[in-house]
Amino acid sequence: MVNSFENIAVISFPELPENEFLSIEKKYLNVIYINFFILFFASISVVFLVDFTNIINISAFSFWIYIALIIAFTIQFLILKIGFSKRKYLVRSKDISYKSGLFFMKTTTVPFHRIQHIEINQGPFSRFFNLAVLIVFTAGNSSDDLKIRGIKMTDASKIKEFISTQIDG
């Protein structure tokens, strides 16, 4: 019987360098804040409208709904703020990686060989800050591919360009 790790340790293979990961653009935090506050004020105003117009009678506990909303959004805000520094990406010569998550950490790597196509998206707020979303698609189940939000538009196109040449070559 052979232990797989012992056996394979004989050949050396490159490791994912934890400290070489790049943080995404600081400016993207603004986009996150904008989206967050839009959602926050939208939900508050929905509760307010329902309370005010009396479509459903919630006046008895409307106060608690506001409190619950504010607490939930505060927690969400803190998670977004602290978790932001955890969003990192890395482009190596043969693959692209992304990691994120404060309580649910996730690291994903897609080798260039396996990429089907790449997409660059820009939302209205991101456009204002000149940021973009880079999405990498692989074959098969397309739900769980790599998505890097909040990198500079120029960086995104550069990465896309680089990967395209790598795929062809």
């Binding site: 052979v2 996730k106 080798p111």
Partner: protein, 512 residues
């Protein structure tokens, strides 16, 4: 089956190139096949209306009857014309290693598929096709769902010629394809099929049957609602549930009946699907022929298989049989139309190793140690188990007013614990230079084998609690779905992560 004509068509290989160079329609019998398919789906959609119609038959006046017949005749003729037009507009040819198809009466569609995108070519025969002796040829691709092609009627010679000209587009394969190995790898006779069906998961068969019946009754219910029959049923139920003592006998009787129904339904299911199962190994492909009412012939290309799963259960283990499931690249766009699962039932150990040898030559995983997942996985399972148990108890609390029912936990808890312990014990993984093997299962035992180079992307997940215990989940995303190893030591997970990436990036083999 058709061995002679097979050889003949092999000789005619040379003509294949010219055979499909012009746009051609399928066999004329195709009109009949399309027509019967249409009529069948029409009947399926309107069978309740028809029954109602027959019930009220005597009450209808002569004039409205004539109109009825006229209407039916018009519908029948309409579908005949439609079938003819579909047939006439369905044309295909082969050009520059592309399969080109144009179809559609009003909305014209042009489809072009390069040969190397074609995943497999299957032959199929339903009852009508068996009677008029034509074959349905299905061309499956990985990728877009609307590129799935189904040619409804071809003669056997045409079908094989088409298959050959598609599969043998590069010269290297041509030679070996002619030397067909006549002796099948696996032949399952009626008795062996009986063995397979007895050892099936009868609960599953029963659930499938119940699901079918529920769908059937819901259809009925919609039509008969409010007709007064509900009351009758309700009365029947309330009368019989009043006496608790007799209900125990009824329950016993029903559970016996359920066991019997489960057995029979597994048998019927297995017989319909896998009747006369024969598997051939031809060069780089597996050919699987099976089916009772619908005969199917599947050709599985070796390099299109993403991963395989070998499964068995305690009963099957005693008889020394297991089944193999082959996973191919999914067509990502249509989620609802799941690709048919390709399965070989009733494999003996020798046959399994032959198939393994075909797919992964020169690989032997038996020499490697099994790695157990971390005990964190067990605690996670227990936590889930306790959650489910408390839900069940809550259900009891509201369902029965009697407190004695909670004694059932004395039985339930050990059962849960036993299941969790076996599930944890079976969760192991091992890997060699090129292959990864993951074992899992509770009552059944599954063994998934995946070559590293078929992996599309790798990811590692860790919750806050897992991080404190220094364990992580490893997920291999393949073209045929996710494969997950839960809760292994973080450093080992990272090592495997890096190793898998290294294998993918240095591999020269194409994943499909």
């Amino acid at each position: 089956m058709h061995q002679k004509s097979k050889n003949l068509s092999a000789l005619k290989l040379m003509d294949n190139a010219t055979l499909f160079s012009q746009f051609s329609t399928q066999s004329k019998k195709g009109i009949l096949v399309i027509y019967s398919n249409q009529i069948f789906s029409l009947l399926k959609a309107t069978w309740i209306l028809l029954i109602l119609f027959i019930q009220k038959f005597s009450k209808l006046s002569a004039i409205s009857l004539t109109y009825m017949y006229l209407g039916i005749a018009v519908v029948l003729v309409f579908f005949l014309v439609r079938a003819f037009l579909i047939f006439k507009n369905f044309q295909f040819k082969i050009e520059n290693n592309h399969f080109i198809l144009k179809k559609g009466i009003i909305k014209k569609t042009n489809i072009e598929i390069p040969f190397d995108r074609i995943q497999n070519i299957n032959f199929k025969q339903n009852i009508v096709q068996q009677i008029i002796n034509v074959y349905e040829v299905n061309i499956e691709t990985a990728g877009s769902a609307d590129a799935e092609i189904s040619i409804k009627a071809m003669t056997f010679e045409q079908a094989t010629a088409l298959k050959n000209s598609i599969t043998i587009f590069d010269k290297a394969n041509t030679k070996s394809e002619v030397e067909i190995k006549e002796k099948p790898l696996l032949e399952i006779d009626f008795l062996a099929l009986l063995k397979v069906s007895i050892t099936e998961n009868h609960l599953k068969s029963l659930l499938i049957l119940i699901a079918i019946l529920i769908g059937f009754f819901q259809q009925l219910e919609q039509f008969f609602k409010g007709s007064g029959n509900d009351e009758l049923v309700d009365n029947f139920i309330s009368e019989n549930s009043s006496a608790f003592q007799t209900s125990i006998f009824i329950m016993l009787f029903f559970s016996l009946l359920l066991v019997l129904v489960g057995l029979i339904s597994s048998f019927v299911r297995i017989l319909l699907q896998h009747f006369n199962l024969t598997v051939f190994i031809k060069n780089d492909t597996l050919e699987i022929d099976q089916g009772l009412t619908t005969k199917k012939s599947i050709v599985l290309k070796k390099n299109k298989v993403q991963h395989i799963t070998i499964s068995t259960n305690p009963l099957k283990k005693i008889l020394g049989i297991s089944f193999i499931t082959f996973s191919q690249a999914e067509s990502g766009i249509s989620k609802e139309k799941k690709q048919e699962i390709i399965k070989i039932v009733g494999c003996k150990i020798a046959q399994i190793s032959a198939i393994k040898n075909l797919l992964f030559p020169n690989e032997n995983l038996n020499d490697f140690d099994k790695n157990q997942v971390d005990s964190y996985y067990k605690s996670r399972l227990y936590l889930q188990g306790i959650f489910v148990l408390s839900l069940i108890n809550l259900g009891f609390y509201f369902g029965f007013q009697n407190h004695l029912i909670f004694w059932i936990n004395v039985v339930l808890f050990p059962v849960f614990a036993l299941l969790i312990e076996t599930k944890f014990k079976k969760r192991t993984y091992l890997f060699s230079e090129d292959l990864l093997q993951i074992n899992f299962g509770t009552i059944e035992t599954h063994q998934t084998i995946l070559p590293f180079y078929k992996v599309q992307c790798v990811s590692m997940q860790q919750t806050f609690f897992q991080a404190r215990k220094n364990v992580a989940d490893l997920v291999f995303q393949t073209a045929s779905g996710k494969i997950k190893i839960p809760c292994i030591n973080s450093t080992e997970a990272l090592k495997m992560y890096n190793f898998a990436l290294y294998k993918i990036e240095t591999s020269q083999q194409s994943w499909m």
